[in-house]
């Protein structure tokens, strides 16, 4: 919200307090000044100039060469505005001036061959309005050579304040002024006016009836007769333009002025357009169509609070008036509405219509029910003054059940318990009194306060403690340098995933972080997708069901920019409906699992001077997965299953299982899946369910003494049928050997015509040793030869080189 410092000074004495001090203290008391413009600073170099002479530019049709008198000298200035004329008083920016719009400095310049010593400014360049159609032409009264700060009264400071939702009381100039009065310990005073009413009684001119008393606790109205709708005077226009509002006419401007002064939104009805000169406040019983004063037809849901006359609705209460009762230039008599509506009712309507106005913004945050009459009278008097109208005697003030001031108890020791610092009692009382709270009970240890109705946020003891701390100043509460730590168990639920990250990096993988919101096509690849009710776009309308689609997206994007060799991983949550037909009603209806994906594509090794290039293949992927499992001691806990036939994602793949439950799956990604991502090279990926992996108990680690006895190595190679798998042979070797055989390594594998059709050669190296003794040649040979014979017969294999 924009606030004018000059306007604030009407209600609180801020003379001799530097602007920066005001800005700092407001921010430090909770009304954060996000930005401010000090006109005195901004316009300090601009002066009033006089155009003595205007000639056409010799080299440019649209430019003029002017002689500008600055009070002390005549300067040649090039001007591009169509409206510059001899004899005008104008705003002149001498060399060195910073122009607000664009924040640039005026230098001596040569424009199309003619020198220019300054600039004649438009309102837009000065940021006084958006008008850049021509230069700003000043009135005769201003003095040439003088600063515009003085001559144009550009001496305000405009503060842009961020008001938090709890501080509805600060959404006006008096609201901010009250806080300033507390901060600087100054007197605050309400605007002064004298009400001049005519003899005509308001009750004879109009009436008000509240039907929905819950949603409209108070409705106050004043009537002003025989007004003239016209432009507002300059002082009023200026007040409004300074805070960014556009002046309309004296009636609308006054209602806006009072809203920004007192915080009470007002609405002015053309009284003659109200049937029966009657106001009825009630909620709609059916869905209704209504045209608001911006000429838009709006569909109102059942239960919308409306302002009606004796026959029809004339305004959406607290949100916007209707076209049918709008004020125009021929309006003579008006009814000014100043009401207090139930915040949640206004918010519901505003949300339902997607229509937020300055009025609804305030009503849904709470408008002080105690000051509706003040605001109505203030507006009536201003309208009467500015439009030559007569105020009817009295007001229509319907307030069936008075909203009481709340009582709050404050225990002084509680201030210490929360803040950890003792603020003196006198200081506490001073702060609360300045904020408008009244003491109704006093004792040594506690006081009871009455909270004014403009502070709905002060309901409990803790609310008062916050106010005390806020005004006392958070910076004045000490920062202790010692903290207490309880000795209870400390846990880190992220430790496991962090370890996985470390190992993944050491395997050469880079980590991705992807947006879990994705398009339907991607979310449909795997699992049962969950839809977002109010997505930002179709590209982000679903939650990811797996990490694979977005990882493929990243692969595609990187290939496009020339990064074709990728080794990536990601840890993130995926979301699936448990039953695709069942809507989410509780946490059992969906799963949110943490997953881990590894994805590789392109080359694992570029060609270098001493190394051939190599592309990623299935065994690289499998190797990475196994390396990781060894590191986390799950290598002998999980087992593999292999699938040649593929599924919807993979051409061929394998799974890691724990007690027959699948923990991870991965392989070579199918061509037609890759096609959806425009990927033309092979991609391999593997996805673990980290939530499940986390829970599996790893083999406990024990120290093994380094071997004291020698190892013996034996090699053999067999020719097998092609259908025999590595896994079968390995299992058989282990089964057919004594415990002296400790490990088996496949060191060669090939197929060749020379071996015979559908034959392959597998060469193994076997490692024998014992932890207790040195083995004899004889016992190893016995074991080894036995094994050879068993393999021969079991697989009908031929021992090579025998």
């Amino acid at each position: 919200m924009k606030v004018s410092l000059n306007w604030l000074k009407e209600y609180v004495d801020l003379e001799n307090i530097p602007v920066q001090e005001i800005v700092h203290k407001l921010t430090m008391s909770g009304l954060e000044v996000e930005d401010y413009v000090d006109e005195n600073e901004l316009y300090k170099d601009f002066i009033v100039g006089y155009v003595k002479e205007k000639k056409k530019h010799p080299n440019a049709d649209k430019l003029s060469v002017c002689i500008v008198n600055t009070g002390t000298e005549d300067l040649q200035v090039i001007c591009g505005a169509p409206n510059v004329e001899t004899g005008q008083k104008i705003v002149f920016a001498p060399i060195g001036t910073i122009i607000p719009n664009g924040n640039f400095k005026i230098n001596k310049a040569k424009i199309r061959g003619v020198e220019s010593f300054g600039m004649i400014c438009s309102e837009a360049e000065l940021e006084l309005s958006n008008d850049h159609s021509g230069i700003m032409v000043l009135t005769e009264e201003v003095n040439v050579g003088k600063s515009i700060v003085k001559e144009l009264e550009l001496n305000d400071v405009i503060l842009e304040i961020a008001i938090t939702p709890n501080r509805s009381d600060a959404l006006s100039h008096i609201g901010v002024a009250k806080d300033l009065a507390s901060i600087f310990n100054k007197e605050f005073h309400l605007p002064e006016y004298t009400l001049h009413e005519s003899a005509k009684k308001v009750k004879e001119l109009a009436s008000v009836e509240i039907v929905d008393k819950i949603n409209c606790p108070r409705y106050t109205a004043k009537v002003v007769k025989n007004i003239t709708v016209k432009d507002s005077p300059d002082w009023l226009k200026k007040r409004l333009t300074k805070i960014g509002l556009r002046p309309i006419n004296n009636i609308v401007d006054v209602t806006n002025f009072v809203m920004y002064e007192l915080g009470q939104p007002l609405h002015a009805f053309d009284l003659d357009k109200l049937n029966g000169q009657k106001i009825v406040v009630k909620s709609t019983e059916t869905e209704t169509v209504f045209t608001t004063l911006d000429s838009k037809e709006r569909k109102l849901p059942k239960g919308t609070l409306m302002i009606c006359d004796s026959e029809k609705p004339v305004a959406i209460a607290g949100v916007m008036g209707g076209e049918n009762s709008e004020i125009n230039n021929s309006t003579k008599n008006i009814l000014i509405e100043s009401a207090h509506f139930n915040p949640s009712s206004i918010r519901k309507t505003s949300k339902a219509l997607g229509l937020s106005t300055e009025a609804s913004y305030r009503f849904e945050r709470w408008v002080d029910p105690s000051s509706t009459l003040l605001a109505a009278e203030r507006a009536a008097q201003l309208i009467a003054d500015l439009g030559n109208g007569e105020i009817a005697h009295g007001s229509l003030d319907n307030y069936p059940e008075k909203i009481k001031e709340k009582e709050v108890l404050l225990r002084f020791e509680r201030v210490y318990k929360i803040l950890g610092f003792q603020i003196p009692k006198e200081k506490i009382l001073q702060i609360l009194k300045k904020l408008g709270l009244k003491i109704i009970f006093e004792s040594e240890n506690e006081n009871r306060f009455l909270v004014p109705t403009f502070r709905p946020d002060l309901e409990r003891e803790i609310d008062l403690i916050e106010e005390i701390a806020r005004i006392f100043g958070y910076d004045n509460i000490p920062t202790i340098s010692k903290i207490s730590i309880s000795l209870g168990e400390k846990i880190d639920e992220t430790a496991f995933e962090d370890a996985i990250r470390d190992y993944s990096c050491s395997l050469g993988f880079y980590e991705m972080v992807n947006n879990p919101l994705q398009k339907e096509q991607f979310a449909s690849l795997i699992g049962n997708k969950i839809q977002i009710l109010n997505p930002q776009s179709l590209d982000m309308a679903f939650l990811r069901t797996s990490l694979i689609p977005s990882a493929l997206g990243v692969v595609a994007k990187n290939i496009n920019v020339g990064e074709k060799n990728l080794r990536l991983f990601e840890i993130g949550n995926v979301f699936n409906l448990k039953n695709e037909k069942k809507e989410i009603k509780n946490f059992e209806d969906f799963s949110e699992n943490q997953k881990l994906i590894f994805i590789v594509t392109g080359k694992i090794q570029d060609k270098t001077w001493n190394f051939p290039e190599k592309y990623f293949d299935f065994y690289d992927l499998k190797g990475y997965i196994n390396s990781l499992l060894i590191k986390i001691s799950l290598d002998n806990v999980l087992n593999d299953s292999y699938y040649h036939n593929g599924d919807s994602i993979f051409d061929f793949y394998f799974t890691k299982n724990y007690e027959k439950v699948e923990i991870g799956v991965g392989g070579k990604v199918k061509k037609d899946v890759l096609k959806q991502f425009d990927i033309q090279q092979d991609v391999f990926c593997f996805e673990f369910d980290l939530s499940k992996l986390k829970k599996i108990k790893a083999n406990s680690k024990k120290y093994l003494e380094p071997l004291k006895f020698p190892k013996s190595i034996r090699d053999f190679a067999f020719i097998f049928d092609n259908s025999v798998t590595y896994e079968e042979v390995i299992k058989f070797i282990k089964k057919s050997s004594s415990e002296l055989l400790k490990s088996v390594n496949l060191f060669d594998l090939f197929e060749s015509e020379t071996l015979g059709k559908n034959k392959k050669s597998m060469a193994f190296s076997l490692e024998y040793y014992s932890e207790e003794r040195t083995l004899t040649e004889e016992e190893i040979e016995k074991d080894f030869n036995y094994l050879i014979e068993k393999i021969k017969t079991n697989f009908s294999a031929i021992l090579r080189g025998a």
Binding site: S29, G30, E32, T164, P165, R347, R365, I418, L419, G420, F421, I462, E466, A469, R470, Y474, I477, T479, I480, K482, I483, I485, S486, G488, K490, I491, E493, T494, D498, C505, S506, F509, Y510, M512, V513, N514, N515, P516, L517, I532, L533, N534, Q536, L543, V554, K557, N558, E563, L566, R567, L568, N573, K585, F587, F590, E592, T608, W609, N610, F611
Partner: protein
Amino acid sequence: MLDERIKKITAHFNQDISAVKDTKQLEELRLKFLSRNGLVSQLFDELKNASKEEKPVLGKLLNALRNEVTEKFNLLKDHIDSLEKESVEKIDLSLPGFERTIGSKHLLIQTLNEIKSIFKGLGFSVIEGPELESDYNNFGALNFPPDHPARDMQDTFFINSDFLLRTHTSPVQIRIMEKTKPPVRAIMPGRVYRNEAISSRSYCVFHQVEGLYVDNDVTFAELKGTLVAFAHQFYGENLKYRFRPSFFPFTEPSAEMDITCFLCHGKGCKVCKHSGWLEILGCGMVDPNVFDNVNYDHEQYTGYAFGMGIERTALLKYGIDDIRVFFDNDFRFLKQF
């Protein structure tokens, strides 16, 4: 007679060996002195002719000569061998080495881990919670009344009227307190979602770290102390800070913590909107209504909570001007950190 010849041959050998430069000359030297017909062998042959008395003495001398010559010869041979070997294997040491790839964690995770380690050092546990949350945990239990404008502070992605994507990590506070009795001391990192237009400054997904400490006598002064200690460790010892009042439905009093802008050192720049200050986190004392919602006695217990955004922190620390960079996963970006 023989002993003089011994001296002579010693001198002769010493003279010859000093001229030997390569294997060929070395071989010549060997043939001349140490071969079967070499000068040293000849001397041994002559020993036969020596008298009975002289024999032991001369024998000793001859042995000493042979040892000396052999030793010197071997030393030189080793030296020449190693020289020649080097010249054969003289490799180009400037050729590139065979580099292996060490990957890296995402910059956001690296930043998060720095924050985690500081708070772990201060005795905080690290707890996680789900991203798809109930409206109650995300708002209701945290004292956001239904139909209250406070909800406008956080634009929400809904799944339906009761479930949503969490807009902050604060619901994990509720989950912890519902499960555990005080004292509770934990940080809660995680991913959160806001239905805000995507730009260089905001993204619909980002990361937060939440903190919570509840015990018998937790105070606002201790909250300040803890966060100042964090800021000093994370941003540097010399920074200035300030706490200013703010509003969050689940804390009261609520505050925001600013530190001096480390880009302009408080003078004012574009990044700090000319204020000289950068907002780094929100915090406050846990609202009694929140304690009521998790059945903690708000008379007995007090607590503080805080929350900070990781992206913003990383943007500031690494001079990145577009938040979308974090979610693009451009390999050229990932490799930089």
